[in-house]
Symmetry: C2
Subunit: 665 residues, 2 copies
């Protein structure tokens, strides 16, 4: 799979070389490394931290500011009751087994899957068929079970059984997985024994809040719940106007059983989540959908996935919503906006696709879900989820707490409703039914319109009705007409109440950063006589540092010029770094290629004479020369994303001299 991934220039991507450079330049580093590290925990060093801050800044501008979203910052510590209600305590878990011999912890579904797959491979080998390596599925977080494939032929019926199991592997619960392990005698190749029956392992980190341990809590697995719990206040803050969105940027936590894949599967991660609250009626239209309708996306829907087709077409989102591929405008609007965001920060356009979740793959709360997947050396990676959570969360929290998490809208004109209503004669009703009074009353209130219609008829005809009431008498009671009136009446409603649905674009910032680093990576070596030089071609808007300032030599006269320039750039809101080390200019530029610094300013002896500076473009290594003001203006327009290098080249005179020296160092 690694071999399929490519650099920015289309060459095969050498992940090991990239990874080693990212660590050397401290984009990231394993946390607590001098203590041996902890799987799934990473620190960002200065360039990684700056890249992250710039991507977050771009995100905030693209989503929060552009659409007046209500940003909130909620607690990570979350009491048990909240996550019990949301379903996370019961359902946010994986099934795990323990190897009784060596104590290995094994994810049950992955274990069954891998052993059966390995047996099928062995069968193919025994039959002399070619064993194809199945494409690694990035959605699955397998801990590879080590063990050689044995060429053993299976009965045809067994092969079919195995294949049927594998086709629905995601649907088994723990008990069923345990039964499969027993039935097929699945053994851990490392020890030769069957693992213990699967137990649920909840993926949330648990802790206790306060000095007495009576308030168990968790680190949130998503930022969403905090936004839902604040719904009523946010609606009030938005002056009761719908639709609106809240947004939140913050860390979330998942206690993965066995984290791997570097920055892609970690236990602590930064998320940026939007909860867009929309009226479920009226087709979930979006007022700005027309702005994005012509944007073309690569869409991989359920049917295409099931059919196994690979000739995926780019489709305008307007058309996709029209033909029902994407359910509604709001979902479609956000898919397009996500696409534009990813494009803006420098993700390779040929390595984005939107994949619809299969029914059995969705989170417990989702009604529909599309993932923005980015292609990397680990395969297609889910980087942004865009789920329709329906009214699930608001409903369960409202039910649990009694807080009305609803929208009340004055109707344009009052709604006149004709319906069957029931009145009870309270004075007589209580004494008549005594201790059963309330139970019977509740049963009456619970009757449907259809029941009331026939009950009215019965009452009219017989002078009493017979109602089923569980737990009273023999399960039926008779209510005489002195106690009850059932009539068809009209009622006027001025206000409509509804629970909004939620469309949730949810961004895994760490995964986006890693994919971006792969997409921007290339080696300069193939394009010159020089040894291979690694480059990260981040767009200037998100690059960690925008400008490298290099004095030609360590001549003291250059120092004040560098500092003055750095100060001016800082005032213009542009981050720069001076490298006045004794290394050659080539070495210094090379270091900054690795850091992804898009621009370089060389200060040379001509600068001392006429105050002109050369500005160098990282990607083309072309240079222009002009006075300070023009150079700073050029830098600012590049850093703000207003211009590209070709615009600058067209405006300012080219400079050839310096680059020769760099190349010939």
């Amino acid at each position: 799979m690694t071999s399929e991934a490519t650099t920015l220039k289309g060459k095969p991507l050498d992940r090991a070389a990239l990874d080693s450079m990212l660590r050397r330049r401290m984009f990231y580093t394993p946390s607590f490394e001098i203590y041996g590290g902890v799987a799934g925990l990473y620190d960002y060093g200065p360039p990684g931290c700056s890249l992250q801050a710039n991507v977050i800044d771009a995100w905030r501008k693209h989503f929060v500011l552009e659409e007046d979203m209500l940003e909130v910052d909620c607690s990570v510590l979350t009491p048990h009751e909240v996550l019990k209600t949301s379903g996370h305590v019961d359902k946010f878990a994986d099934w795990m087994c323990k190897d009784p011999k060596n104590g290995d912890i094994i994810r049950a579904d992955h274990f069954v899957e891998e052993i059966l797959e390995s047996r099928l491979k062995g069968d193919k080998e025994a039959r002399g068929q070619k064993v194809e390596e199945k494409e690694e599925d990035p959605k699955k977080k397998k801990k590879k079970i080590k063990g050689a494939i044995e060429a053993i032929k299976l009965d045809d019926a067994v092969v079919q059984e195995y294949e049927e199991i594998l086709a629905k592997i995601d649907n088994y619960n723990g008990t069923e997985l345990g039964e499969l392990i027993k039935k097929y005698d699945l053994k851990n190749p490392a020890t030769g024994v069957q693992p213990s029956p699967p137990v649920a392992f909840n993926l949330m980190f648990q802790t206790a809040i306060g000095p007495s341990s009576n308030l168990p809590g968790y680190l949130r697995p998503e930022t969403a719940q905090g936004q839902f719990l604040n719904f009523a206040k946010l609606l009030e803050f938005n002056q009761q106007q719908m639709p609106f969105a809240s947004a939140s940027i913050g860390k979330s936590y998942r206690n993965e059983i066995s984290p791997r894949s570097g920055l892609l599967r970690v236990r602590e991660f930064l998320m940026a989540e939007i909860e867009h609250f929309v009226d479920p009626e009226g087709g979930k239209k979006h007022p700005r959908f027309s702005e994005v309708k012509d944007i073309e996306l690569v869409l991989l829907n359920r049917e295409t996935q099931l059919s196994g087709k690979t000739d995926i077409q780019r489709v305008a989102i307007g058309k996709a919503v029209e033909d029902g591929t994407v359910d509604n405008e709001t979902l479609g609007y956000f898919l397009a906006r996500i696409h534009l965001f990813l494009k803006k920060i420098g993700v390779d356009q040929s390595k984005i696709r939107f994949r619809q979740h299969m029914a059995n793959e969705m989170a417990h709360y989702a009604a529909d879900c599309w993932d923005a997947e980015l292609f990397t050396s680990y395969g297609w990676i889910e980087c942004v989820g865009c789920a329709d959570r329906s009214a699930y969360d608001l409903s369960v929290h409202a039910k649990k707490t009694g807080s009305p998490l609803i929208v009340r809208q004055r109707l344009p004109e009052p709604l006149v409703i004709e319906e069957w209503q029931v009145d009870l004669n309270k004075k007589k009703f209580g004494p008549h039914f005594k201790k059963d009074g309330r139970t019977v009353e509740a049963a009456v209130e619970a009757t449907t319109q259809e029941q009331r219609e026939s009950l009215a008829k019965e009452l009219n005809e017989k002078g009493s009705i017979i109602l089923e009431v569980a737990g009273v008498g023999e399960g039926k009671v008779e209510i005489p007409k002195e106690l009850i009136v059932i009539e068809r009446r009209t009622r006027t409603e001025n206000v409509r109440e509804f629970t909004p649905n939620v469309i949730e674009p949810s961004f895994g910032i760490g995964r986006i950063l890693y994919s971006l680093m792969e997409h921007c990576f290339w080696t300069r070596g193939s394009e010159g006589g020089d040894e291979a030089r690694l480059v990260l071609s981040f767009p200037p808007t998100v690059a960690p540092t925008k400008v490298l300032i290099v004095p030609l030599s360590s001549n003291d006269k250059f120092t004040p010029i560098c500092q003055k320039l750095s100060l001016k750039l800082r005032k213009a809101g542009v981050s720069s770094r001076i490298d006045d080390s004794s290394a050659t200019i080539g070495k210094r530029y090379s270091r900054n290629d690795e850091l992804g610094t898009p621009l370089g300013i060389t200060i040379d002896f001509q600068t001392l004479q006429d105050s002109t500076l050369t500005l160098r473009d990282r990607d083309s290594t072309k240079q222009v020369r002009a006075d300070e003001d023009k150079i700073i203006a050029a830098i600012k327009s590049l850093a703000d994303g207003e211009k590209e290098w070709k615009d600058i080249e067209a405006e300012l005179p080219a400079f050839e001299g310096q680059e020769i020296e760099v190349a010939s160092r």
Copy 2:
């Protein structure tokens, strides 16, 4: 104490009114409120979140960018071993007691203190002396013990004993506090019984990392440890240059026993911390100290605190370092820079002081510490700590892990050292001592220069030496001269190795935000005939939203103008909000006064004719009128902090018309 705090205009501050407004406008809100809330956990709503983001942005510019600090983003989840080494597992704890009758959890030191104080008050009452309310000490996080003061006279000797205990209340450990409770029969007034003996309660939230519970971990209590563990990599990233600073912005956690005081004492909080690594030799000079030396600070040192003086003077930091009040330039430099930062974001200059920690008050790692305290209705609140952590952290982590967390510096000229050296004849040494060989060798290596001098003499005189070696023979061994040479020789050192000291400015962002909200708060009521209107006068640079756009009426012609203007402001990097609700202009401005929006643009019928706009200043309610470009340029210069309103008033023509209408609505 509340009565002493004042508004921005010097009037008594009504904390209840402010607090109610802050919640109503969703600056903050108790987390999980619909579930009853959890003490010490708060969410920031849209304006609070935006204020926080702007303060963080200002912090990053003022510190990280201005001084090329190396920002890192490290894991919150931290394994036990790291925090065991740093001392947090053993020392980051409070002593707590339990009331056996009602189960109340009580902080032991606060309990002893409050009961003794209450007895002393009772004694004074019994003696007919005036009982003065002691100034509330914001450093102490007391849970007030409820109970009436009984007027009981105490023996003079007992009074003296109590006073002596209170004077050193911070120095007692748990056992001692327990003895005090027994000796003086201190009872919880709520139940009339003695609480249980104090037990240590560690303030860190504990959890388990991974599926097997063999990796206990904590939520970090500070961001500092992650920075220390990365020291060697950061030094390498900084190309081995000293001094340098790392910085980190992120959440930390403290499981307070009984959190109170709203946003001031919480369990989850945002910190911004700097670790400035400096050579301990050479007086900890700072290269940019001269830039800040004339800045005057209010300094409250240990001696002044002990003497009980209150006539505190403003002192230039240069003088304070010179006379030793502040230990060194680097510490002094950061105190001044902290002061400038607080000033920049709008903290009231008359409500800042720097207080030196008393010896018994410092964190376990600190060598010296000054707090920037801000005055609020809760008293003086520690908002920024500036500690000299010496080489403590780097040393303990290096010792525990064996990683060299040191700086190696080439000496300007080689250092020639004359010293006693020992050579062993390895070939004969091993066979001679057999199994004890290594132990004896280690004992020889461990000898000091003084010992070696006398051993050389002994060897020379007697032909052998007698050395004490624990655990070998009878604790002494004889080493003949065939096995050992002890000589005075010279050795040349080209490199100096040292462990840097750390100066740590540590910002509690939540506390700063709360203090800022108090400092910027005032009521407009007293200045007009109108009913009291609450205002938050944030500086434009940190205000959550910069501009309110208000169309004069709901006329459809205004809508496109509002949207075009909003878009232009967004492109200029200025956040705005349109309020086209049907409320009066006065009401709409009033709402935004409460949100701290510094500027307002009114779009009226004249705008439709000549495209001019009025710009209103929140604080003075003065207005100017000009065309769109001039108004946007004015707004941008205000939002960037380049100009003040008086500059705008001097540049653009005043507009009187609209304000009359607003006032007379």
